[in-house]
């Protein structure tokens, strides 16, 4: 790989905007995170071998935040699902969509080896408790008792209150994504808008399911 190839690859990624530009976005983020040091040691001029690592691209912070928020949301759904078999059937499809959101967001952020256990790059949601998410200040919807330091699933209210809690969390998560659209790359902004739309539909779906007696 030549220096010119890398520059072109990065340029293509930054000029993206297609909804199908994922691989290119990954290439850009990968280059930002781990590729530039490799360029440095391969002798490309203009990149000092011992230079300070470049600042992460704005997308990295946005992605980490979005990933953490999805992890919190999944932990909340899991807490309610574990507690109530009656609610589980109605909630699993929504939880599963959050798993898809999380997978898609994670696919756009390559974390260098050795940092794989860092907060937002944890390999599984279950590997991190709800309390840990809340303590990290991520995803607190400011509703219910979650976010007030109570450990794990116990922070999620039971019964009908759990549904209201999840609705508030979905609303807050969607609003947070939409607030960050302006600083995201085109491709990531599209994904964030789509995820926010999905989360907004969850609010209505939870209401409809409760109204129909399914929750």
């Amino acid at each position: 790989m030549t220096c010119l190839d890398s520059a072109e690859e990065i340029e293509r990624g930054l000029a993206g905007g297609s909804v199908l530009a994922d691989r290119t976005r990954r290439a850009v983020l990968a280059a930002t995170a781990v590729g530039l040091p490799l360029l440095a040691v391969s002798g490309c001029k203009g990149v000092g071998a011992l230079a300070t690592p470049p600042k992460p691209a704005p997308d990295v912070a946005v992605l980490r935040s979005a990933i953490a928020a999805e992890e919190v949301m999944i932990a909340r759904y899991d807490a309610v699902i574990r507690r109530s078999a009656r609610l589980a059937r109605g909630l699993r499809p929504l939880r599963d969509e959050h798993l898809l959101h999380l997978a898609q967001l994670r696919s756009r952020l390559i974390v260098p080896l050795g940092r794989a256990n860092a907060a937002s790059a944890s390999p599984s949601v279950s590997g991190r408790t709800l309390h840990e998410h809340e303590a990290a200040g991520q995803g607190s919807a400011g509703h219910g008792s979650a976010g007030h330091g109570e450990a794990g699933p116990g922070a999620v209210p039971a019964g009908a209150a759990a549904i209201s809690f999840l609705q508030a969390a979905e609303r807050a998560a969607a609003a947070d994504l939409l607030r960050k659209l302006a600083v995201a790359s085109p491709s990531l902004a599209q994904l964030m808008a789509s995820v926010a739309a999905s989360e907004t539909t969850h609010v209505a779906a939870l209401s409809a399911a409760r109204g129909a007696g399914r929750l």
């Binding site: 000029a15 199908l20 997978a103 808008a193 926010a196 999905s198 539909t201 969850h202 779906a205």
Partner: protein, 153 residues
């Protein structure tokens, strides 16, 4: 907006025109949808029809204010599948909303914050309407079905 190069203004106009074209199609399509519905479903279709008319008018005004002639509605549109009953009508409504969501998602890729926000609002609104007609939610409204599916081995 950071991290991107500024696109030509033509990209913005093109995306707005695409959204407007989708709104035109939705306005037409809901006429077909409503013809096969009654009661609460008809009321919902009427409400959504009006929402698309409002969105259409807003997009037309935006384009005119920037000196662009808005794309006109077609005289008629080819319906993607036969609509003979309420189930078919609801399926058509889902298709219309999915296409509107995709069109607005194009606006989200543009650098201007106001345009992104307009696009995001359009995606959200279409997704909510689509979920209502579909009777269930989807993970990635606006994206072509399967575009973001996990890779299969």
């Amino acid at each position: 907006m950071t991290g991107t190069t500024a696109p030509a203004a033509g990209a913005e106009v093109s995306a707005l025109q695409a959204a407007l074209a989708a709104e035109h199609a939705a306005v037409y399509g809901y006429g077909v949808v409503g013809a096969h519905l009654t009661g609460a479903a008809l009321a919902a279709a009427t409400s959504d029809w009006v929402a698309h008319q409002v969105a259409r008018d807003s997009l037309e005004a935006m384009l005119r204010s920037s000196g662009t002639q808005p794309v006109a509605a077609a005289v008629a549109y080819r319906i993607p599948h036969p609509v003979r009953n309420s189930a078919g009508a609801m399926s058509l409504a889902v298709t219309l909303e999915d296409r509107v969501a995709t069109a607005y998602l194009g606006l989200v890729a543009l650098p201007a914050t106001a345009i992104r926000e307009l696009g995001a609002r359009g995606v959200v609104a279409a997704a909510v309407r689509a979920a209502s007609w579909r009777g269930k939610t989807v993970a990635f409204p606006g994206f072509v079905a399967g575009a973001l599916s996990p890779a299969r081995r």
